[in-house]
């Protein structure tokens, strides 16, 4: 079995994730979708590593997981902070960065 | 190779970092050390020695930028002036701390001093541009955070105006270095002495000349680039304004002498009549404005436009004997020394008129305040360049230089001398003479304010008696600078 199917799956998951990030307004869901995108990338990395017989890709995937964990920790912290300040849990309403 | 200038330049800013702990004393110490240094330097200066106290070290070798500092006859007295005015401002601040974040205020002012001193001693084009732009930063904050009414638009206007000039100058500086390198076949170098040694072809000089000229004319400010001045002057806190008007504008005049004349002699040669005309318009326009304004700060602001017009006039006189430029250099020092105490006087007048800075609200302040009156009078007379003041010696040389260069322009510029007496005396009389104004409560100068004003006025008097002191140290440098053009 070639590498193609892995990549197709990876691309699909990535697109699902990206679509979610772009369309959903709940920060929690957005975080989940981000996870999807990251894992899509992980899948691609592992697949390539396997195909090339190079363990570097797998190490990279592990690294991405660590970063993702950190990101989720920070992201969830933010969500909790927003919730605590009784702000709407809706990213479209949180637009103070508007120029 | 000495460390002296490095210490001189960076001491204020570095020491200023500690200002959060005790703004009063840190400010005083941070401004006093450079003052002592500058005095020692003037005492130690060898009149025939050319560039002195040189520091020359590599900084960014890839771009040919060196960390080269030095003092010569052009910058010596301006350095002293900067430290004197900065110390006076700090003394003033020590008495009248701003209520809001005094430490930060002090730091910004000290950073300004570092930038100005750096610009005066920089002997590398890139270094000069760096310090020149650095000057803008503290004053942006000083206007934007501690200013009076309408401070935000004023700060923005000032920044945009000067930034336009600065960016053009940056481009000009890069172009100068790159084109000089490719022209002469040497390595890329921003060091001034290298650039002067290999002048650019006349055609190239002309367009680069304009980038520099524009930056300096805006900074001065000169007519018609003074649009930022009224707003900035109206809102800037007075101790900062005293320093700003007294010293920062001189960097522009100095820039003409240090960079423009030596680097672009051919361009100066071909455009100098135009700049003389511009300077004369500046003189007349500033003077006429100064005697119609009623806001005391603006009277001084526009009078500075006129005075800097005189300085520009002297620089671009390019007479064979270099008398004009010599006068301009002297006048740059004088104007700084005179305008700074006048801004302090405005603060004192405002305190006696319920905070008003409109001269229509003044009147009769001389009543019960004889000492303040005498101090104000001496500075006012010096501003109008009364013969006997060093300002007169400066204007005399400027006009003499212009006279031997383009006679008609000297005649028109002489009108500016008459107008100066009108606005300066009007300001003085309106404040001190006439009946006591409705909201005026006059009282004598306090000892602590006297501590700031009296030494400055004594310096004006001393300089009036013996301007030769500054003239003789500048003589050689001015002559070489100007004769590079008229050669």
């Amino acid at each position: 079995m070639g590498i193609h199917w892995y990549l197709v799956v990876s691309a699909l998951i990535f697109c699902i994730g990206a679509g979610g990030v772009l369309t959903r307004r709940n920060p929690l869901v957005i975080l989940l979708c981000l996870e999807l995108m990251l894992n899509a990338a992980n899948l691609a990395l592992v697949a390539f590593a396997r195909a090339h017989g190079d363990m570097g890709g797998q190490i990279f995937a592990l690294l991405v997981m660590v970063v993702a964990a950190c990101e989720v920790a920070v992201g969830l912290g933010l969500v909790v902070a927003i919730y605590r300040r009784r702000l709407p849990i809706d990213v479209d309403d949180l637009r103070e960065l508007q120029g | 190779m000495t460390l002296h200038l490095t210490i001189l330049v960076f001491f204020p800013a570095v020491c200023g970092l500690l200002a959060a702990f005790n703004p009063r004393w840190v400010g005083l110490i941070a401004a006093f050390v450079p003052l002592a240094y500058a005095v020692a330097m003037v005492a130690d200066f060898d009149v025939a020695g050319g560039l002195q106290f040189v520091t020359d070290d590599k900084w960014i070798p890839a771009l040919g930028i060196r960390y080269k500092l030095g003092v010569d006859g052009l910058s010596l007295w301006l350095v002293l002036l900067t430290t004197v005015i900065a110390f006076a401002s700090m003394l003033w601040l020590a008495v009248r701390q701003p209520s809001d974040r005094p430490g930060l205020f002090t730091f910004h002012l000290l950073l300004g001093e570092t930038a100005v001193l750096g610009a005066f001693v920089a002997q590398d084009l890139a270094l000069f541009v760096l310090f020149f732009d650095l000057m803008l930063v503290p004053f942006y904050f000083l206007v934007g955070q501690w200013g009076g009414e309408n401070r935000i638009p004023a700060a923005l206007k000032m920044v945009i105006y000067t930034l336009v000039g600065s960016l053009l100058m940056l481009a000009g500086a890069v172009a100068t270095a790159v084109l000089t390198a490719s022209n002469s076949g040497h390595d890329l170098s921003f060091v001034l002495s290298d650039l002067v040694a290999n002048p650019l072809p006349a055609g190239t000089q002309k367009w680069i000349f304009f980038t520099f000229a524009l930056a300096f004319l805006i900074k001065m400010p000169s007519f018609p680039f003074h649009g930022w001045m009224p707003d900035a002057y109206r809102t800037m806190p007075l101790p900062a304004l005293a320093f700003f008007s007294g010293v920062v504008s001189k960097v522009a005049a100095y820039g003409f002498l240090r960079l423009v004349l030596p680097l672009f002699p051919a361009a100066v040669e071909s455009f100098h009549t135009w700049f003389l005309v511009l300077a004369v318009i500046s003189i007349l326009y500033g003077s006429v404005q100064a005697f119609t304004q009623t806001n005391a700060r603006l009277i001084l602001g526009y009078s500075s436009v006129a005075q800097l017009g005189f300085i520009t006039l002297g620089i671009f006189a390019i007479d064979a004997a270099a008398q004009g430029a010599q006068g301009a250099l002297l006048q740059a020092i004088n104007h700084g020394l005179v305008v700074a105490p006048l801004f302090f006087v405005i603060a004192l007048l405002a305190e006696r008129a319920e905070g008003s800075e409109d001269i229509r609200d003044y009147g009769g302040i001389a009543f019960r305040a004889p000492v303040l009156t005498v101090l104000f009078l001496i500075t006012a007379l010096a501003t109008l360049a009364m013969p006997g003041s060093a300002n007169f010696a400066g204007e005399f040389l400027i006009l003499l230089g212009t006279f031997s260069s383009v006679q008609a322009i000297a005649f028109v510029a002489a009108l500016g001398v008459i107008l100066a007496s009108v606005y300066a005396l009007r300001f003085y009389f309106r404040s001190m003479h006439y009946r006591v104004g409705a909201q005026v409560q006059s009282f004598e100068l306090s000892l602590r304010d006297g501590l700031v004003l009296v030494p400055l006025v004594l310096a004006i008097l001393a300089f009036a008696l013996y301007p030769q002191l500054a003239l003789q140290s500048g003589e050689e440098a001015v002559k070489t600078t100007v004769q590079a053009v008229s050669r």
């Binding site: 772009l22 637009r95 | 001389a366 006009l399 006279f403 001398v417 009389f429 003479h433 030769q468 003789q472």
Partner: protein, 664 residues
């Protein structure tokens, strides 16, 4: 002590006096300051006598230090001591001493007593600096210092609006003069390459040809300086207004010393003027015009001090005419005698004004003859000297000028004739003033004084505007002093009266020519000084004519004002002319229309229209508009929607990968 030491001491004493008085204004009682100031000037006068003693007909330059000695400019603090400057020093310091003495009493009670003496001492220093200056730069410095001192003495009562306005006017006119001097000095410097007087005089012959345009321009510009200082047409309008100052100031500055500086300058720079006869002619003609214009205005002015002020203008016209026509000794002679009798007249006028409680209007005066015999006597002596009646000093000095004009011949004779006409008018207006103030029915103030009580206004008012005033600092003090009751005033006036009588004997045709000989070393290089010597007989003819004219002038004044009555008849008959004179030939109005209003309009235009449209509209509006448009574009991208940013990121990423894929 050597000559130069004396000369520097002449300068040092008044300056030290001014500084000392200024520094001790709180420490010492104000009375002391008056005496201190007088002492300083007296010492200066004694040093001037020392100079006279040590001079020995030399011309000596003494350099103190370099002032602006750079790049070919040889400006030093140097003084030139020669007979001319010594004479001026003697006159200035001498008259100043007496006027200080007078002021000690006259200004008593004024709250600005200390300031007055500090300024007066500073003035004397400035005047002496002007006189002793050995180069163009220093003479300009003295020139301006004198103007500043005069300005602040004119507006001495600084809370009076009229006084401040007069001071401002005086200063601005003086600055015009300064600029004239500066530009004139430039021309001379360009030609001769030096600012030093003696060097420039030596170089002038081979640096310039006779009447070379540059030199004529230089001399005319120098004349502008002289005219501004000496109140010559058209730069004279400040002098009558300057009468706002205290009377001793008018006596010292606006009669005896400062206003004669222009005469001194022309005499000092005579090598230049003789080399540029065209410019000298301008000076002579303007002097002549001024003496006539001022005399006509003097005929109709009703302010006591202004009559004397116009008379001063007129007499200085004589002097300017004289020195411009190379009659140097005569001009300086008249300068000296004029200093005596004019200071005396002002002092007497001050005494009268005090008796009037500060009022200066001749219409309100009358009959002071009995109540103030001493003042009357002084006024008459001064008046006779001014009118040129033998044997008073003005008789000899004025007629010497006129006979020299005739001796020069050519068109100068016209000037001489005009001078006699002026002398006639002088006698009329002088005695008009005396008759109106001292003769006729007694005014209430005069009769009050005759009964032994000095009039004091119940409520002090400004005589010019009628405004009610304070008597605190910045206004005239509550007390008034008249010569009859104040010994210092009496001594000062007595001494000047004596000088006004005997001063003329220095130069009596055929008998003595002390001054002429004394000044010889200064004018040794003059073409005319030795040769221009009218015969004794023709001089005596001139003297007789002068005496007759003076006496007939007094006779005319007596018929019109002395006997009383006919003044109104003449006024009605010559209505238009009277109005023209009363309005001072409309000089003030002309300046207002020609200079003041256009300047004010230009200022308003600049600050409103131009600033708004061009500077703020075009330059600021243009550049800030550009910045605003750019920032609007950038700001549009910053929507704040998270997905918007994410989408941008994604598009960018896709674009980038697409680019790499295609290029690979």
């Amino acid at each position: 002590m050597s000559l130069t030491t004396y000369a520097w001491l002449v300068l040092a004493f008044p300056l030290a006096g001014a500084v000392l008085i200024g520094l001790t204004f709180r420490a010492l009682p104000s009375r002391v300051h008056g005496w201190l100031g007088t002492l300083a000037i007296l010492l200066s006068f004694l040093s001037a006598l020392g100079m006279l003693n040590a001079l020995d007909g030399r011309q000596v330059t003494s350099v103190a230090w370099d002032y602006a000695n750079t790049l070919g400019v040889d400006a030093q603090v140097s003084i030139l001591i020669d007979p001319l400057s010594v004479l001026m020093c003697l006159v200035v310091a001498g008259v100043s001493t007496l006027i200080h003495l007078y002021s000690v009493a006259y200004m008593g009670g004024d709250r600005g007593y200390t300031r007055f003496f500090a300024l007066l001492n500073f003035f004397v220093f400035s005047m002496l600096l002007l006189v002793l200056a050995g180069n163009f730069l220093l003479v300009i410095v003295g020139w301006a210092f004198v103007a500043a001192a005069s300005t602040f003495l004119i507006s001495f009562w600084y809370r009076r609006a009229t006084a401040t306005a007069a001071g401002l006017k005086a200063f601005i006119v003086q600055v015009i003069g300064d600029v004239g001097l500066v530009l004139g000095a430039f021309f001379v410097f360009k030609g001769t390459g030096t600012l030093d007087f003696l060097k420039a005089f030596n170089a002038v012959d081979h640096s310039f040809t006779v009447n070379q345009p540059e030199l004529v321009a230089a001399c005319i510009l120098l004349l502008v300086g002289a005219f501004a200082k000496s109140a010559q047409v058209p730069l004279h309008t400040w002098l009558p207004d300057a009468m706002e100052g205290p009377t001793p100031v008018s006596a010292l500055i606006h009669a005896a010393t400062m206003v004669t500086a222009g005469v001194y300058l022309i005499a000092r720079l005579h090598p230049l003027f003789e080399h540029a006869p065209d410019a000298a002619a301008v000076g002579a003609i303007i002097g002549c015009v001024t003496l006539l214009i001022a005399a006509t205005i003097g005929l109709v002015v009703t302010d006591l001090k202004r009559v004397i002020a116009y008379s001063t203008m007129s007499q200085i016209g004589y002097m300017i005419m004289a020195v411009s026509s190379a009659a140097y000794a005569a001009g300086m002679f008249h300068l000296m005698t004029h200093a005596f009798f004019k200071a005396l007249l002002f002092m007497a006028a001050g005494s009268v004004i005090s008796a009037m409680g500060g009022v200066q209007d001749l219409n309100k005066m009358g009959g002071f003859r009995k109540a103030m015999p001493f003042t009357f006597g002084c006024m008459v002596i001064g008046g006779l000297a001014l009118s040129g009646i033998p044997p008073f000093s003005g008789f000899f000095s004025k007629d010497e000028i006129l006979s020299l004009e005739f001796e020069r011949g050519g068109w100068h004779a016209i000037l001489g004739v005009a001078g006699y006409l002026g002398a006639f008018l002088t006698a009329i207006y002088t005695f008009r003033m005396i008759f109106r103030a001292f003769m006729g029915p007694m005014s209430p103030e005069a009769s009050e004084l005759a009964h032994g009580h000095l009039y004091h206004a119940p409520e002090p008012t400004n005589p010019a505007t009628g405004e009610v005033e304070d008597t605190d600092v910045g206004f005239p003090g509550p007390e008034h002093h008249i010569a009859e009751r104040a010994a210092p005033m009496k001594v000062a006036m007595g001494a000047l009266a004596l000088l006004a009588i005997v001063g003329g004997f220095l130069q009596v045709p055929g008998v003595s020519s002390e001054l002429h000989h004394f000044l010889e070393p200064t004018f040794h290089d003059s073409t005319y000084y030795a040769s221009l010597e009218p015969s004794t007989s023709s001089e005596w003819i001139g003297l007789v004519i002068g005496a007759v004219i003076g006496l007939s002038g007094i006779g005319v004044a007596w018929t019109i004002w002395g006997k009383g009555g006919t003044a109104a008849v003449y006024q009605a008959r010559l209505g238009a002319l009277h109005k023209f004179f009363v309005n001072k030939w409309y000089f003030d109005e002309a300046f207002d229309v020609l200079l003041v209003r256009p300047a004010a309009w230009l200022g308003r235009f600049a600050s409103t229209t131009f600033e708004r449209l061009f500077v703020n509209g075009l330059l600021v509006g243009g550049s800030s508009g550009l910045v605003r448009a750019l920032s609007a574009a950038v700001r549009g991208v910053q929507s704040g929607y998270l997905r918007y940013y994410a989408a941008l990121l994604l598009i960018g990423l896709t674009g980038l990968s697409a680019y790499f894929l295609i290029s690979a």
